[in-house]
């Protein structure tokens, strides 16, 4: 499918004997906000890292915009990891310079506008910011890129509710039909209103996937309820 920004066939990733992704099949079209949902250890982070080019697959096939993850795909993929990845010695402005230097699709003005709204001083060093502020800054810089694929790993985990609202609004506000956002989370009820599509991941396999509103229409359930059903522990 030429419209797919991500396609995977029998994608497998093993760490020694542990199978993080188990013959996964996937097709993500452009212009969607997709939730990657599943319990810890189900392979969400592994999939995102693979798509970002930080891991190499064990077997199977995975394509980002029709290409294998590599130097070319990294130019159109914007990845937000769960952890802080800027050197703590850098100032916010330097981080923006960094992105500006390496990513042609980085919109510096947009980043500065968003940072201004958050009242984060540009000269502040990363290490002086609180955890919540650091996460917001990283998100702002990642979303200020006009990428084709955004990979957000737990963008709202461990952040206070006000920050959560801001992050969700930023993701929505940044949305454009030429891009797809794939975000992983275990805070489903907070995130489901912004999702187009969802993927349930269990032990490295896709156990359920579809359009969020269709589930609501056909089954009268929220994604949160469906999730509990699919993943219930006895």
């Amino acid at each position: 499918m030429s419209e797919s920004i991500v396609s995977a066939r029998e994608l497998t990733k093993k760490y020694g004997s542990f199978c993080a992704l188990d013959r996964m099949d996937l097709d993500l079209p452009l212009g969607r906000i997709v939730g990657l949902l599943g319990p810890n250890g189900s392979g969400k982070t592994t999939l995102l890292k693979l798509l970002a080019g930080l891991l190499t697959k064990t077997s199977g096939e995975v394509l980002v915009d029709g290409m294998e993850p590599g130097v070319k795909t990294k130019a159109l993929v914007s990845y937000l990891p769960e952890r802080t990845y800027f050197g703590s010695y850098m100032s916010i402005e330097e981080c923006a310079d960094y992105f500006s230097d390496f990513y042609a699709d980085f919109d510096r003005q947009l980043a500065y506008d968003m940072l201004g709204t958050l009242r984060i001083p540009l000269k502040a060093k990363f290490r002086t910011l609180s955890k919540g502020s650091r996460e917001k800054v990283q998100l702002v810089l990642v979303m200020a890129r006009r990428a084709k694929l955004y990979l957000l790993d737990e963008p709202i985990g461990g952040v206070d509710p006000a920050a959560r609202d801001y992050i969700l609004k930023t993701i929505i506000g940044n949305y454009n039909p030429g891009a797809t956002v794939l975000l992983s989370t275990h805070l489903i009820s907070d995130i489901e209103p912004i999702l187009d599509d969802f993927i349930f991941l269990k032990e490295g396999r896709v156990v359920c996937a579809g359009v969020a509103d269709e589930v609501r229409e056909a089954q009268g359930k929220s994604l949160d309820e469906l999730f509990r059903e699919v993943f219930k522990c006895f």
């Binding site: 949305y175 009820s189 309820e225």
Partner: protein
Amino acid sequence: MPWDFNSSIPIYLQIESMIKARIFSGEYPPGSHIPSVREIAQELAVNPNTVQKAFKDLEDSKLILTMRTSGRLVTEDIRTITQARQKDADGSVKSFLSEMGKMGFSPEDVLAALKAICEERRESGGVC
């Protein structure tokens, strides 16, 4: 502040209801501009595609018109608005009566209860 959605019901339907309510109440007067998909999506903290779907339904029911150059407008046809409002109101009343019916109240019971409540309101200086 994000709208408090019921995540068990299709969100696009809830957005539709909300926009219709704003049209019926006059918050979006006939012929006026409606905020863009993006603005509403951000206001409500929902997916823009969902808002798009709601808008499409509203366009199909002729409550909203999309102009090529000037964006989305509420229809100027008061009759369409009134008819839609009536239809929705009828629907609400019907489901209300059905709810009351489950509790054992007949429509006459409900009417009597309404009258009593109205009396109370008027006596305490309110409007009914």
